[in-house]
Symmetry: C2
Subunit: 425 residues, 2 copies
């Protein structure tokens, strides 16, 4: 496959932008990048007037929750969880998670997301949706000590790991929910398993102020300090949120090369707080972006996360220069790959990397005129500007037409699944 005449935003270590460049792809790999490549190929994509970017990498979500999108907004956090979300989650069937995550894959492909890190129940169903849709999923079956072992414990995780077919596109990892929903023993068992399998751990930590207070009461330590005390922090750990982390904790995280998934829209919508994003980046922490679940957002859209991440830091620090557009794009691409320890394969357009490439159509009124491509991508673009999505060398969307998924069928089935789920209440 040959992509021609694109403005290539490589996101390589020099952040090189090639104004009118070509990208040659064989199978699932980028083979050549340059100007006017003299290559004959049957499949040519003319990308004139478009920007070619590495596909967006979203490092934290619960994709099946699309079924509950907009169901319970503008509520206090605990009421939202206890009265609305948890009672419904207890009623979930495997097929709900299949259609819910398939709907999420559809929305993510439309928004230029080629890799996502997911944590939820019935993860084998999410794997099936990932398989069908052609996207790339880093999948963790949630582990907690609240629900039955067979539904959300080590047993469920091990069953998932046995069943799932690992591939370039389906990467199972371990997902203990949080230090407040998992005992020390559970966390340690999860870590042992991850160490054995040489795989990532995905966890929620320090999302709310209440969580900090609870941890201090229970352990005499803040959550990050507690995880440090039990030897949980290392370079294979990806933590979602980190809203309430102090200087010492940031240094602790940096020292252990822990990766962060910052979720600004969710943190704002649930009023969790404002993460010290600039401070984390200043301390050389690898911070990537997540959307959290569609219930607390309510989108799966990395362009929104980029804009919110930058603007929230600017206003909260009173400094319009912080998190410039290029830094936001870095978080949404190469930092996402680094967070998932896939930066040898993903996150930038470079020879030898896997072909996860999106084309963004710049011929839009709101992207006119063009002064600075980074500004446009972060502050002015919208998900619907994504024209073409290539994941693992395969085209998933072209001219905004889905090639792997039947959009209307998925939307109808999701609406029916919602009705069925609420009928079980």
């Amino acid at each position: 496959m040959l992509i021609k005449n694109a403005m290539i935003i490589t996101m390589d270590s020099n952040r090189r932008v090639i104004k009118n460049g070509d990208i040659y792809i064989e199978d699932n790999k980028i083979i050549k990048i340059g100007k006017s490549l003299d290559i004959k190929d049957n499949e040519i994509i003319d990308a004139k007037g478009m920007a070619a970017l590495p596909g967006f990498i979203k490092t934290h979500t619960h994709s099946s929750m699309t079924l509950l999108r907009g169901y319970a907004d503008d509520l206090p956090l605990m009421k939202w969880l206890k009265e609305y979300i948890w009672p419904l989650e207890a009623l979930l069937k495997p097929e709900d998670c299949y259609i819910g995550s398939k709907l999420a894959c559809l929305e993510m492909i439309r928004a230029g997301i080629t890799t996502f890190s997911d944590m939820y129940f019935y993860m084998n169903q999410v794997a099936k949706a990932v398989e069908d849709s052609g996207i790339r999923g880093v999948l963790s079956y949630v582990i907690n000590d609240i629900m039955p072992e067979n539904f959300a414990g080590m047993t469920a995780t091990k069953r998932f790991l046995n069943q799932v077919k690992k591939s370039d596109r389906i990467i199972p990892i371990i997902g203990p929910h949080s230090p407040y929903a998992c005992s020390k023993e559970t966390l340690q068992k999860a870590k042992e398993l991850a160490d054995d399998l040489k795989t990532l751990i995905h966890i929620h930590v320090s999302e709310t102020k209440e969580e900090i207070e609870e941890s201090k009461k229970k352990f005499g330590l803040r959550p990050i300090e507690y995880l440090n005390s039990i030897g949980f922090l290392d370079s294979n750990l990806e933590i979602a949120h980190c809203v309430w982390v102090n200087d010492d904790e940031i240094k602790m995280l940096a020292k252990n090369n822990v990766k962060i998934s910052h979720c600004p829209v969710s943190n704002m919508k649930l009023a969790s707080g404002i993460a010290p994003l600039k401070h984390m980046l200043d301390n050389d922490l690898i911070v990537s972006l997540g959307s959290d679940g569609p219930c607390s957002n309510n989108r799966l859209d990395m362009i929104q996360e980029m804009k919110f991440s930058s603007l929230l830091q600017k206003v909260s620090l009173g400094d319009p220069t912080v998190i410039p557009a290029e830094k936001a794009l870095e978080m949404a691409t190469i930092n996402g790959a680094r967070a998932l320890r896939l930066d040898n394969k993903l996150g930038s357009i470079e020879v030898g990397k896997l072909a996860d490439i999106i084309l963004i159509d710049l011929k839009k009124p709101h992207l006119t005129p063009l002064h600075n491509i980074f500004s446009h991508l972060v502050y002015a673009a919208q998900a619907s500007d994504v024209d073409t999505v290539i994941c693992n060398g395969k085209i998933l969307m072209r001219n905004r037409k889905l090639l792997t998924l039947n959009e209307n069928e998925i939307m109808e089935k999701a609406e029916l699944a919602k009705e069925d789920l609420f009928g079980r209440k």
Copy 2:
């Protein structure tokens, strides 16, 4: 014209939602609203699967600045203004403002905005763009004491008022820039003129902390106190920003029935601060939404303003229940009409009002399934979900096809105008 089978979000005083309703329009007015209206009409719009809303009303922008969109982002405010924006504005030609504001009209129509309140130079050119595009403009020629009288003073304003052809769609008002850019005498002259013509005044006040300090030094009063002391506050005053207003000032504004244009994205991007939005609404102030200029945003998109306005208040007040979705939609529609004193004609879908109606396509993955229409419109929708735009009874966009504007020609001319403008540097 007959719109059939829409989910009608009336935004009337009961916030009535009609699940499967019809709207009958004659000329530029809404004549009938109901279920299965038995009316024969040549022009029928089938709005099945769509929400019908009053067109969005944006109460503060500088539309011609599209030409500078993305030109100078992530910079300190004063450096941005003094080194980048002002030197270029001094070089503006009338035709720049025509093409710049026409590009803005194009973007606004695409985003479902049917009325906007604009303040800038060469306002007769903006009026021409409004005339051509079919949108509704409330237009103020900026008045300041910094630039030549003939370019940005009372002389320019009077010339504009003499030249402009007033209509249902072109409503000239008076636009003294701010209490720091206008002397007391200029403000008073502007107010006299507005009183004579029984028209609105549009002004910037209390946008930054520095402005407050400067005002205290110069007048011994905070900006709102100062305006109050010179008799400037009344129900015909629309103030953009009001970020730094204290309790006393909020009461002063409420007592005088002053209208506010809240611009959250701009306030965040320029790091101006977080306006006390909830507090202003709690004090019965009429707060509407603006985008500010496309340089400090960089979009002209009311759905973004709604989402940012709600989420920023939630996180800054630590309360996820504040500014619920319906309140945000209220600010973007009926409160906009009230701010511009056009609520007898605009801002809701009601019999007798002018036909400014937009249709939002709900058959989208990110709007599936449907639990709560207000949540979807504020937290999940995006500008590109706007399918059809009717302003003053005339269709401006249908199935996302522009009917009054030549999109490609405008984008090309805007790019050329940008190059020409920068060539003059």
